[in-house]
């Protein structure tokens, strides 16, 4: 038997195609979401430390650096959520008889719809 030729798999494969890069960006957005969750935990700890401690922390958060980081985290989580909602119909198909429900319908029912409702409830709670 003669030898087979094995082509190497490059470590930087994700640079070879825009679609791979978009995938990597989606994965990376998770880092910002994770970081933001840690921030929320810190916030809870500060809240537990009394009102003075919390308002001090709020002043810190108003600095341009923190505002900038919040903005990045917001963009990252929007990107992550929207790409994920668009993928859900393929992971969770629904059928009525022989007919598979259209993807936008499932994405709305499973993702965008609840997102909107929950956001409105929170907004109502804040503005009330």
């Amino acid at each position: 038997m003669t030898g087979k030729y094995h082509r190497p798999h490059k470590w930087n494969w994700f640079l070879s195609k825009p679609a791979y890069m978009l995938f990597m960006i989606r994965e990376l957005t998770a880092v910002f979401i994770g970081a933001y969750l840690i921030l929320l935990l810190i916030m809870l700890a500060k809240l537990g430390g009394g009102e003075a401690m919390f308002s001090e922390w709020l002043v810190v958060l108003r600095s341009p650096l923190w505002m900038g980081l919040h903005f990045i985290a917001l963009v990252a989580s929007l990107w992550h959520s929207i790409t994920w909602f668009n993928l859900t119909p393929r992971a969770m198909p629904f059928f009525i008889g022989e007919k598979r429900l259209a993807d936008p319908l499932v994405a709305t029912a499973m993702g965008y719809g609840p997102w909107l409702v929950i956001s409105l409830v929170i907004l109502w709670g804040v503005l009330r």
Binding site: K4, K17, F23, G97, E98, R100
Partner: protein
């Protein structure tokens, strides 16, 4: 013919008995708007270089044997026209993520083993023949898995998948989609047996949902979607395992 138009094909060559490594060879082929890349390769084989080795059969997107990397994209060479590239040259290579046997021919033994490992056939606890009549299925039941039966085993999805590239043992898109196809078949009772394989580390959980398998699939199988659904089943099985250990309740 005066000033006949031509197009250049740069083809990956590798003959293990004489070549230490691969090389590229250029061929000028008469340009014909109606030709697909496979026609051009057949022309080369018939008129200039009989040593060029590749697989094909149906020339109509059915047999799944003519998959190649065409300008770095996995495609059926019988389904992509020269005019999509003309006047630029076309680079033709064997499907990536597979060992190369000779020229454009890849070694698909590993792929065949993966397909077999998920038991791609109907498994029954009772009689496994039609002596008691056929197993009936409604059109609605068929609809749940029909898409996944369209696979022609062309392996384009394996070339598009970076996980296959970095973990050669990963079962891969087509095999997992095929396992899901049988799991979703209302006549089948082999879910537990099949899931044992599909829940291993190099199976459904290996998939990171890059999704390129479904983009390159010429038959709209959507293996990526099938794998996410299989993940949901696997997670259910996993939690069921806590409540009711395997084998119990049978």
């Amino acid at each position: 013919m005066p000033d006949e138009k031509t197009i250049t094909l740069e083809i990956f060559r590798y003959h293990p008995e004489s070549d230490a490594g691969p090389r590229f060879q250029s061929y000028d082929v008469p340009y014909n708007e109606d030709w697909v890349v496979l026609d051009a390769i057949n022309w080369i084989k018939d008129t200039v270089d009989g040593t060029l080795t590749y697989r094909w059969s149906c020339r109509m997107g059915v047999c799944g044997s003519c998959g190649m990397m065409i300008n770095d994209e996995p495609k059926l060479s019988c389904a992509v026209f020269l005019k999509e590239y003309y006047p630029n040259p076309i680079k033709v290579e064997p499907l990536v993520n597979f060992p190369v046997e000779r020229d454009l021919v890849i070694d698909m033994d590993g792929f065949m083993e993966k397909l077999q490992s998920i038991k791609p056939y109907i498994i029954r606890d009772d009689v496994n023949d039609t002596s008691q009549g056929e197993y009936k299925q409604s059109p609605a039941e068929l609809a749940h898995y029909k898409q996944y039966t369209m696979c022609i085993n062309c392996m384009l999805c394996y070339s598009a998948c970076p996980v296959v590239g970095s973990e050669p043992d990963f079962l891969g898109p087509a095999a997992l989609a095929l396992g899901h196809r049988y799991n979703k078949d209302s006549r089948d009772q082999g879910f537990d047996q099949r899931m044992e394989k599909m829940m291993e580390h190099e199976a459904v959980w290996g998939c990171t949902f890059v999704g390129e398998c479904s983009v390159v699939c010429p038959k709209n199988v959507d293996p990526a979607g099938a794998i996410q659904q299989a993940k949901a089943s696997a997670a259910q099985e996993y939690f069921k395992g806590f409540i009711m250990p395997r084998g119990a309740g049978k």
